[in-house]
Amino acid sequence: MEVITANTKKPLTVVGIVVLALFAAFPLFLGQYWLHTAIVGLFYVMMASSWNLLAGYTGQVSFAHAAFAGVGAYTSGILAAKAGLPPLLGLPIGIAVAAVLGLALGSLCIRMGGIYLSLTTLGFSEILRIIVTNEYEITRGTMGLKTPPLFGEYSKTVSFYVLLAAALLILWLIRRILNSDLGASFRAVQNDETAAASLGIPVVRVRILAFVIAGAMAGFAGSLYGHYLMLITPHILSLDLMFLVLAMTVIGGMGTFIGPIVGALFLETLSEYIRVYGEYHILIFGLVALAVARFAPQGLVGLWRQFRSAV
């Protein structure tokens, strides 16, 4: 791969297509266990990439991203389990509810930056988790809520392709946003809000919009994930999951398009190998993420780029 990508940009697209084709062929040669890992990996690709859009491109380091996934999952899950609504109809409702909550939280945080925003979103996330855990009648608390699959009979292979298509859709959308005027506004706001405002950028609107978009994407990912697992527990909106998403993004490369994808797939695969040593892996990932944030702010992608420009 080094030889192909060393000189020009074009072979990178070729590499992308080859990787994608290989990935799409997974169900042909992967066992059920690793297929499950791949599906979970795709969920995390969506989570990390959409969180990166908010945190890596507008600088709003929210800790409520897992909470938005939980909102998506529980909304369509409850609608299906309690009201018999087909998940395919519950899915857009889950996205909408997550988007509205994104609007509310984004507006609440508009005068905040840095650690205050992080703490406020963290508080929001924990409140939501506590509510979901305690409203046993509706959510069945830690017992978990049983939900039907997205459509038809349960099938891992179908789920894999659904999640793959969803992840590609999310990545395509993020790419479009980053290359649009909105993407340039995101980066301007992250770099310097005062200067951006002095050039006519509506900073408040841009920041809230980022919350809404990222929230909706997390709601989408969470809803799909819930119907794949067919059992939704408060783990989906826990800080454990949040920190895993954060570690994936930071280790892969925050503020880069590829970083969160690489980070999510890499850490999800790695967790499968080190899970046997107990549930400490999130702690370890957190520590590694801290070191990466300090010494290689652009993560694995940044290191790779440095390596390439060095040779």
Partner: protein, 244 residues
């Protein structure tokens, strides 16, 4: 016609009266100088006009529109641009992207097809030819100021507020910058209010000066008038009896 009318504007920070009952106007086609000792309230006055802070009392009108209390982005879109005392380019973005943001921020964003040309033209104009793809963080001080000026011009302003455009520049760079400001006024019809500590420059470039001291407007007139004014001399040199 007066493009900007500042009408009895005041602002205090806690107990400190930073700007106190200041009124002035900016005429079509002029470069208006704003001088005063450190801490006189010059930057605060800019912040009040550009909407970064809201006055306690008084109004600001621009182009016949009351802009008091409007958010900065609305004021920018109305045609009033500003630069900062310490340049604030988007450090993590290229020169090209820095100017692009200003084209996007316009009330009617520049069409996609015209952008590359517009950006290159603006960067050429301020003397940043060939640096489109340079990160703003890699520029030296004068180039950062140039970039900020290109960005402000990209908003297509009627009036631009320049906060110490020459601070930290060598005398050759100062001459270049002054020529640039004059040609922007002549070729692009942009009017300037210009804060500057470099007296020689401001005396040659401005037809009219305002002098601020301890938040108050103490003098207004031609550079020659201002240089003779007893209160101005006192403000800059201390009380007249201090030397006795």
């Amino acid at each position: 016609m007066s493009l900007v009318v500042v009408d009895h504007v005041s602002k205090s920070f806690g107990g400190l009266q930073a700007v106190s009952d200041v009124s002035f106007h900016v005429n079509e086609g002029e470069i208006l100088g704003l001088i005063g000792p450190n801490g006189a309230g010059k930057t605060t006055l800019f912040n009040l006009v550009a909407g970064a802070i809201t006055p306690d009392r008084g109004r600001v009108r621009f182009n016949g529109l009351d802009i008091t209390g409007l958010p900065p982005y609305r004021i920018s879109r109305a045609g009033l641009a500003r630069t900062f005392q310490v340049a604030r380019p988007f450090l993590g973005m290229t020169c090209y992207e820095n100017v692009l943001v200003a084209l996007i921020g316009r009330a009617h964003p520049a069409p996609d097809s015209e952008r590359p040309e517009l950006i290159r033209e603006l960067l050429d104009f301020v003397g940043l030819s060939g640096k489109e793809s340079f990160l703003a963080s890699s520029l030296n001080l004068i180039d950062k100021k140039r970039l900020e000026l290109a960005r402000a011009l990209a908003t297509r302003p009627r009036v631009a507020l320049l906060d110490e455009a020459l601070g930290g520049l060598s005398s050759i760079e100062m001459d270049q910058a002054m020529g640039l400001i004059r040609s922007i006024r002549d070729k692009r019809g942009v009017n300037f209010v210009w804060i500057e500590h470099v007296m020689g420059a401001i005396m040659t470039l401005c037809e009219r000066l305002l002098v601020l001291n301890q938040g108050m407007l103490i003098c207004e007139g031609t550079p020659a008038d201002v240089a003779r004014d007893a209160r101005v001399i006192e403000a800059y040199l201390g009380a007249p009896d201090a030397g006795d």
